[in-house]
């Protein structure tokens, strides 16, 4: 048996709005039914999801998903299927974390007797007030400079990590979907190793829990009151969004990154080495994902690297995968990314809140994060099915 897939040509504008909107609606109805099946009343479901749209926590996911959505759209538009944002974020966290813990500041043991002295010095923060071996973190540079360095190195690390599959694709023609995906798990492993051994902290907690010390809070990003989003998150999201739009609109690299997605042969024939643009697309994409990783690390609630005990819930919160949905719903149009980032962020937040509520009512029902991903997953599936049905006509042929 063979499947024969023929791409359809189509010009409808309706399609670009219709497919995403339909996917969201059908996906939500589907998840409502799934929840109903496992005993969650529909009104609870609706209230839970709706609350996501007003939750102050949503903004944080929104900012991260804008960065990641823009990042993925950059590569998808070049027909490079980067599903490795997770790994690229992880490297952003590691590099940003390294700068925060060892370059911009440093933690050290002090004698218990001097702890009070240290604590009163500017730029010094008590990380661990243990009566036997207290640890303090000492700033080594201006914290704004430190934060900038964290972002820059995080971006660089994410970009370099993304170059691995890019080089394999450009020069050895190895499919990037598989490599980027595998590299995510490699990154998780390395992350755990680095957090548990290489960068293991000095404090008692770090010794106990396989993690680094907590970073000096002067190096963490600045929360906007009443939310979990930081000023830096929002600024980065805005800057990346605008920068990429300008790049597409006004630079030759932007133009070529667009064209490589529709006709790489044209680039080669006008004398542009299209392989370098594969590298560039992935590098830029990885850089933005890396920045999102730094954001996660530098969030005041985090500030440390910790061994991943369960690959299902990495510190990236799976946002690198969820952003694929954002990019797809935007139909690979960067300008639409913020809109769908907001919707997906709200759904994600709403589902998490719903999960908590369900756990509270009937603790036995379904625990863990499982329920959180049902709405997002349903929308993703509906979207893929709709795209396949509208983009291709598929025929099965039996020999």
């Amino acid at each position: 048996m063979r499947l024969i897939v023929v791409k359809r040509v189509k010009t409808s504008n309706l399609y670009y709005i219709g497919i995403p909107v339909l996917s969201i609606l059908i996906g939500l109805v589907m998840s409502l039914l799934i929840f109903a099946l496992i005993g969650v009343p529909p009104d609870l479901f609706i209230r839970g999801i709706a609350s996501g749209f007003q939750s102050p926590q949503t903004l944080r996911y929104f900012a991260l998903l804008v960065m990641l959505g823009v990042a993925l759209t950059l590569s998808f538009r070049a027909s490079i299927w980067n599903v490795g944002a997770e790994g690229q974020m992880i490297w952003g966290m590691i590099a940003g974390g390294y700068i925060a813990l060892f370059v911009a500041a440093q933690s050290m043991y002090v004698s218990p007797g001097e702890l009070a002295n240290y604590a009163s010095m500017p730029g010094v923060e008590v990380i661990d007030a243990s009566p036997y071996a207290p640890v303090v973190s000492i700033l080594l540079m201006d914290p704004s400079l430190g934060k900038l360095l964290m972002i820059l190195f995080g971006m660089l690390a994410g970009g370099l990590w993304a170059l691995i599959p890019a080089v394999l694709k450009a020069y050895l023609d190895i499919d990037e979907v598989a490599t980027t995906l595998i590299l995510n798990y490699v990154a998780y492993q390395l992350f755990s190793h680095i957090a548990s051994y290489t960068l293991r902290g000095l404090s008692v907690q770090a010794k106990q829990f396989f993690r680094t010390d907590k970073a000096n809070s002067a190096l963490l990003f600045d929360l906007i009151r009443g939310t979990s989003v930081t000023i830096q998150d929002l600024v980065m999201a805005a800057v990346f969004f605008v920068a990429v739009i300008l790049m597409y609109g006004y630079t030759t690299i932007g133009l070529r990154l667009k064209i490589i997605g529709s006709n790489p042969q044209l680039l080669r024939s006008v004398g542009v080495d299209e392989r370098r643009y594969i590298l560039l697309a992935m590098f830029l994409s990885g850089m933005l994902a890396g920045a999102a990783g730094v954001s996660i690390f530098a969030s005041p609630g985090v500030g440390k690297l910790e061994k991943i005990t369960n690959v299902v819930s990495p510190p990236t919160m799976n946002l690198g995968y969820i952003a694929i949905l954002v990019s797809w719903l935007s139909m690979l149009d960067t300008r639409l990314v913020p809109i769908y980032a907001y919707i997906v962020a709200s759904l994600f937040q709403g589902s998490s809140m719903l999960q908590l509520e369900i756990n509270a009512i009937s603790p036995g029902l379904l625990t863990g994060g499982a329920l959180t991903y049902i709405p997002i997953g349903s929308i993703l599936i509906v979207y893929v099915v709709l795209r396949i049905l509208t983009d291709y006509s598929i025929r099965v042929r039996i020999r």
Partner: protein, 516 residues
């Protein structure tokens, strides 16, 4: 499946019965009225040519008949029945099958599989065995031989076109419509296709032939309809008209451009060779040597024409010169301002940076990006935009090109995919001629262009050679084109140069070497 009905003998009477009637057809695209009140009768059993300049609306008309586009207004009648055609399936049911320039086949399947697949797509029962049997029948009737069990990717372009035609026969077509399906075929293969059309007609079939080549229409058609700017200018019997009359119908005032042209004198550039090729060996896609030890040199301001029957290494030679195909042995050298540069296997980036224009063999696949605008298709060339693109400059350049090459488009910010085939080619040619300073390397530079545009392009190339000292290597399947432009003509046969002629050599002489 019934296949017999069509091939029963038909009486002459039916000749005057319209098999397809088009009445007051209108079709508007954003920014352009592609068809304006078009009415037309296609008689049963005739070969009806539809002629028109680039962008006249020929393809649009066929696409409406074939259900790809839906008209804004107007009626279609098939055998006096009013029909509404909204998909190719409807068209096929009514007996019309379209054969386009680009074969719509799946490369990894065999011929028989492809055919049986499309049969089922159109709602016929079929299996591979039946198809094979049918093919051997047709082989006897038409003398076309295609192995049903060979995979499509192994076929030549002509063979693929034949498979398309066989598909039409399998689908029991009463009318086969060709949309410039002959443009890319080498001359000898074209003859075969004409033969086929005539046989098909003798068996009672009807042919709708879209082309902008007047001689082609004169050779095979019974009647000719001319479209211009979406309107029917007229329908005439081929036997009662002349090339000049049709030409006037097609181009109107634009024709004066054709007459006033005349080329400048031959190049008077004294100087050394700009491009030198020594003992070049290049492999084809299949890994066999397609170019075998070719050597030549082209001086400043000189045009070298590469003639030959298609498939004798011209394509690979041109691609190697453009830096897009590996040179196995031999060297390619360029001379710029007195210094020599070896560009062998240095890649297209260097070659293009030195000021060489390139017109590739598959323009749509390699020369333009359909999803991008005309402006973007211009700006993509490294010579035509800097890191920061000045869209003002690009726009004004693009508008100039649109005007100079009379590209029919609503605006320079229209996507390339809305352009007609010929106008798309013009965008590519215009861009490449703009960047050709040192040299132009081209394969079929005027394919798909109407006569006036083709003439304009040829004259531009010659003028650039004469006035600016650009040199050119031009391979073309159209011998007239080569003879018209070249200072020197080389003939390729089986990968080698088998003859060298100065301009003014006799056509017979050249043709003799081509096929020997």
């Amino acid at each position: 499946m019934k296949t017999q009905s069509l091939f029963s003998s038909k009486e002459e009477l039916s000749f005057l019965r319209p098999i397809i009637s088009v009445r007051n057809l209108w079709k508007r695209f954003p920014g352009v009225e592609a068809l304006k009140n078009v009415s037309l009768d296609i008689f049963s059993g005739e070969i009806h040519a539809i002629l028109g300049e680039n962008g006249a609306g020929k393809s649009t008309l066929l696409k409406i008949l074939y259900g790809i586009y839906v008209p804004d207004k107007g009626d279609l009648f098939f055998e006096d029945r009013k029909v509404v055609i909204t998909s190719p399936r409807d068209a096929v049911k009514n007996g019309l099958v379209l054969v386009s320039q680009v074969p719509q086949l799946i490369d990894s399947l065999t011929v028989a599989e492809n055919l049986s697949l499309s049969l089922r797509q159109f709602g016929y029962m079929s299996n591979v065995k039946k198809v094979s049997k049918f093919l051997s029948e047709k082989e006897k009737e038409y003398g076309v031989r295609i192995d049903p069990d060979v995979e499509v990717w192994k076929l030549s372009y002509t063979q693929k076109q034949l498979v398309e035609i066989l598909r039409a026969l399998l689908l029991d077509a009463k009318v086969i419509a060709f949309d410039e399906a002959t443009t890319l075929l080498p001359q000898t293969e074209k003859e075969k296709l004409y033969e086929f059309m005539k046989t098909f007609k003798d068996k009672g079939g009807t042919v709708l032939l879209v082309t902008h080549k007047i001689p082609e229409a004169m050779e095979v058609s019974d009647r000719v309809t001319v479209l211009r700017k979406g309107e029917v200018i007229g329908t005439v019997k081929t036997s009662e008209t002349t090339i000049d009359q049709i030409r006037y119908m097609m181009f109107g005032e634009r024709l004066t451009q054709l007459n006033s042209y005349g080329y400048g004198k031959l190049s008077s550039w004294e100087g050394s060779e700009t491009l030198t090729v020594r003992n070049l060996w290049v492999k084809s896609d299949y890994g066999v040597y397609a170019v075998r030890g070719v050597s030549f040199s082209v001086r400043k301001g000189e045009i070298l024409g590469v003639a030959g029957v298609a498939g004798n290494g011209q394509l690979e030679l041109i691609q190697a010169l453009a830096g897009l195909r590996r040179v196995e042995r031999g060297i390619i050298k360029l001379r710029i301002n007195g210094s020599e540069i070896n560009v062998t296997n240095k890649g297209s980036t260097l070659i293009r940076r030195l000021g060489i224009g390139y017109i590739p063999d598959e323009p749509v696949k390699k020369g333009v990006s359909l999803d991008n605008t005309i402006e973007e298709n211009v700006a993509v060339h490294p010579k035509l935009s800097k890191f920061l693109i000045s869209w003002r400059n690009v726009k004004s350049l693009a508008s100039n090109l649109v005007r100079e090459f009379s590209i029919v488009t609503p605006s320079t910010s229209a996507k390339a995919k809305v352009l007609s085939g010929g106008n798309l080619m013009k965008v590519l040619v215009a861009r490449e001629l703009t960047v050709s300073k040192l040299a132009l390397v081209a394969y079929n530079p005027t394919r798909g262009l109407d006569e006036v545009s083709a003439h304009y392009v040829r004259r531009l190339i010659v003028n650039k050679a004469v006035n600016e000292g650009m040199c050119a290597v031009i391979a073309s399947e159209d011998l007239d084109e080569i003879m018209e432009m070249s200072d020197v003509i080389v003939v390729m046969n089986s990968g080698s140069i088998v003859g060298v002629f100065k301009s003014g050599a006799s056509r017979e002489e050249i043709e003799r070497v081509m096929v020997s």
